[in-house]
Subunit: 425 residues, 2 copies
């Protein structure tokens, strides 16, 4: 590099960005990490917030707190609007320009609606705490609404008791299973609505659930979902979503709650760099995780598209984490005047998905684990990777509590606006 590497700017404090920042502890650089949120989010458990099993604080931790002992790290809560690669500056919403010698873009992904952005309004997805919060609100309110209308309008109640999840990847499967369990558990507190009217429908365009898993695990997951009462419909392509209904090539479903767990769209990092990106917005990166033509800019995590053995790496936490560690180490070496290591290589430990209480499928180092053993493995892995000892402890306690009592701890509806002077009634 033509100039000394002193200022490293990392945009995004997800698994990728935070791993890069931590890897730079002790390196002779200033690290500035910019995120529009004040917290790092443990996304793999986000669906448990959406289904009232965990509270937001149990899966999120202030970025400042994670980095409090790393003296070369500075955190800015701000939103990035663009990158000026010539001046080596990141432009933030606050008007600040942050100079960098090396830039790491780890800005994640959002949902995409296959070119139908207007579906978003009726079928929210699940990427942020806000999303989870909104979903929790929506799901819990649906039961309340059903209870209000059931006597006068059983058809409407049935719509409120119908939940449709679109997409049967790990998030969709976990959500459908968790909603089925939530429905079972809350029904004990309702008096009027009929539990037999609850329907949880999982729609998948492909031929099987968990398409990236082995066939045997897909089959087991589908069976486990059916046991929980989830109506799994594979080969069902969604053709329209409106208020109150989802249409697939197999017919129309009347529902007040649709959740989107299908496509994703990368962050606009490609646009910031002015480089061509595909339809999903991913930035193609080379073996050193840099887009072509950029000496000192790295793109990692869900925004990056990196091919290994002929296929792109999936947008999952372990990939993001390993990419962050790779770039962090590389920059640490460069800053110390050392020759950086070889290209990035992903070490694939496998994949996990939980379907519900006692049920999960795991494919770990080639070993296929199902049922209760899979579930224990899944729980241990997730608690282990939670950042911060306190969160681990409290998540374990929450789970233990829920497991023993069959109660959901966080059934709160909070977003409803309170009118002037109307009290708490």
């Amino acid at each position: 590099m033509s100039q000394p590497l002193k200022d490293v700017v990392i945009v995004g404090a997800g698994f990728a960005g935070l791993s890069a920042a931590r890897e730079l502890a002790g390196a002779p650089v200033n690290v500035t990490i910019i995120d529009q949120q004040n917290h790092h989010l443990f996304q793999p458990l986000l669906y448990q917030v959406a289904t009232a099993a965990l509270t937001p604080a149990e899966i999120a931790v202030p970025i400042r707190h994670v980095l409090r002992r790393q003296s070369n790290a500075h955190v800015l809560m701000d939103r990035v609007r663009g990158v000026d690669a010539d001046r080596q500056e990141v432009m933030a919403e606050s008007g600040r320009a942050v100079r960098y010698d090396a830039l790491v873009l780890a800005t994640g992904a959002r949902h995409s609606y296959f070119g139908k952005p207007h579906w978003a309004e009726h079928a929210p997805g699940l990427k942020t705490l806000n999303d989870a919060f909104g979903l929790r609100e929506k799901i819990l309110t649906a039961f309340e609404q059903a209870e209000i209308v059931v006597a006068d309008d059983p058809e409407a109640a049935r719509r409120f008791q119908t939940f449709v999840v679109v997409g049967a990847g790990p998030t969709g499967v976990e959500l459908a299973g968790a909603i089925a369990e939530l429905a079972q558990s809350v029904m004990r507190d309702f008096r009027r609505i009929d539990r037999n009217q609850n329907r949880i429908i999982l729609l998948e365009g492909g031929p099987r659930v968990l398409p990236t898993f082995a066939d045997s695990l897909s089959e087991r997951a589908a069976r486990d979902l059916a046991d929980l009462g989830v109506d799994v419909r594979t080969g069902a392509m969604v053709t329209d979503i409106t208020a109150g209904s989802v249409t697939t090539d197999q017919g129309e479903i009347h529902t007040e709650t649709v959740i989107w767990a299908a496509g994703v769209q990368a962050s606009p990092a490609g646009k910031w760099l002015g480089i061509p990106v595909g339809r999903s917005g991913h930035v193609e990166v080379d073996a050193t995780l840099r887009p072509e033509g950029f000496e000192n800019i790295y793109v990692i995590g869900d925004t990056a598209r990196h091919e290994a053995n002929g296929s792109a790496l999936p947008g999952i936490a372990p990939v993001a984490k390993q990419m962050g560690i790779y770039v962090g180490r590389r920059l640490a070496k460069l800053a110390s005047g050392q020759v950086p290591s070889n290209g990035f290589r992903y070490s694939d430990a496998g994949a996990l998905a939980t379907i519900g209480r006692n049920r999960a499928v795991a494919d770990i180092f080639g070993l296929k684990v199902k049922g209760f053993a899979g579930w224990l493995l899944w729980g241990a892995a997730h608690v282990y990777f939670l950042i911060g000892f306190k969160n681990r402890l409290f998540v374990l306690l929450q789970w233990l509590w829920s497991y023993l009592t069959w109660q959901r701890g966080v059934r709160l509806i909070m977003h409803r606006e309170v009118g002037e002077g109307s009290g708490d009634a």
Copy 2:
């Protein structure tokens, strides 16, 4: 009563309404409890949610869950719009009319701004989980903003580091103390802003903090607040609040965060009944907690104004709870054809207020307790009265954790809108 007492409708599931409902367990009536929220809220600890010490789920519990074993109780999440006393019906927002033989209005209170409703925008109050959430957001964001601007604009940073609480009743005192502690604790994670620039100012129009407590306890509370770094200003009347500033008769304070803990305004129950109410909207009730001219309507809790020994009872949880129990018992007797008991009599056990870690003042059965002993008493009382064993357990654990580690568990900023396709950066 001219007709059999069969249907009891309770509006509001705060301390008053919920106590009345529970007292009716086993009585030969149908109880319908209507609330616009799905949860009962433990308001005395709301300030701890606003200051990131507790999570919402720890102080709130679904109303349905509280009443799940009370087979004669039905819960409706709906908003009441009016009462038709002639037809004996409550009108709800959903369009439903709910018939009653006896009606209990326990719809609480909101803040009032002494005839300056436009202050509300700049000086939010603290009555609901939403309020607490918004305040937490506002306080935590202020530190983040200060960190962003401090290098370029130290004056602005100082405004962001200044927190003003208006009103030194228990809520104001507890908030000011908790913000001072939060400021101390979060400052360890910030790099640029100067902790000596933090200012927490408590404004009180009267001559002393905690005006309803004994003089000696007021003095102790003021001293404890000063120890925590709170700038207590008594005899300071607020004359104006705008974006960025509070003006009192003592001068102007530049600040981005003002919290209102001064006046309250009763719910519109009086309006629903078409009876004259005072400026604060309270409904005057007789010894049986009924407004004049209504045979089968009770008004209890913060909406009611009930005189005992020449002065009105304060709007606090124990009063609300005892009123609820009284009305519940009265209705149970009436429903069973028994002669109801005597008039309501409030049994005053005293009052408590906490200032911070290790510091509280209590006036229990005439005994004045301060400092660490007061704090233990305060903690025990609050945990004891939390509804639901799980909440008690988790609140204790959270407190213990915070106490031992000096950490705030819930420092999350969640409400910031995430733009389209901008990822989690």
